[in-house]
Amino acid sequence: MSEVLNALFLALLVILAGAAVRVRDLVGAVLILSAYGLTMSLVWAGMGAVDVAFTEAVVGAGASTVFFLATLLRTLPREQPRERRARPATLVGVLLLGGLLLLAIHEFPAWSDPASPASLHVSPRYLRDGYRETGAPNIVTAVLADYRAYDTLIETVVIFTAGVACWLLLPRRDP
């Protein structure tokens, strides 16, 4: 049912990534990356991880686009022309690495397999006690905001510090 949609979203992601690399205009590349963020959040939403989807949309499609555009406004908007032909060694390396990764795929458990090793460690406890302990109906929210609350809090502090540092370092724009 939704495998078709997931495959379509992932194909769209590949197309978007290729387009972002190939396009010559850097503003175009940034806007394509924003579309990539929206599509990625669709993939997350399709997996049922709604909070991750929304974070991806806000950060990947919203904030980073604005930051990139602000940077481009202060610098050159065009990519410097350069040699674009892939060297044979690079091509061979990429194909080898990709082949190795494809070979390793069949070792993975099936997608959303409840008997996979990663799902048997702490997940059953979260699924069993999560709602009673946290009161959050979405288990992803419960793990992110309650069980990993300190992690999320310190992440917020790090991002706040980085923002303050950027604000202090960047020169004010002359009107």
């Binding site: 049912m1 939704s2 078709v4 949609l5 379509l8 979203f9 769209l12 197309i15 978007l16 387009a19 190939r22 396009v23 205009d25 503003v27 175009g28 806007l31 394509i32 924003s34 579309a35 929206l38 599509t39 959040s41 669709l42 939403a45 399709g46 049922g48 709604v50 989807a53 929304f54 949309a57 806000v58 499609a61 919203g62 686009t65 604005v66 555009l69 602000a70 406004l73 908007p77």
Partner: protein, 88 residues
């Protein structure tokens, strides 16, 4: 019933390629920004349809509204930046 939603969502996803072409090829920056706005609108529709497929429409409508707002604000921010610069 769900198969209808899957077909419509798949069609809408394929049709976003038209917007994507405008974003990638558009001669001016404004073509690209408008293309991205249309892409965001299609994405919102696909998100709602995914919600229909999963039968969790109430939750996905909330996220869809957030997407739409975010898309609007993003396009406004981009347009504002380019209004301030003298480049087209």
């Amino acid at each position: 019933m769900t198969s209808i939603f899957v077909v419509v969502a798949a069609t809408a996803t394929v049709l976003t390629l038209a917007y994507l072409y405008r974003v990638a090829a558009g001669p001016t920056v404004f073509d690209r920004i408008l293309g991205l706005s249309g892409f965001g609108t299609s994405t919102t529709i696909v998100l709602i349809l995914v919600g229909c497929v999963y039968g969790r429409l109430d939750m996905f409508v909330d996220i869809g509204l957030g997407y739409a707002l975010l898309n609007f604000v993003g396009v406004l921010a981009a347009a504002r930046y380019f209004e301030r610069s003298d480049r087209r």
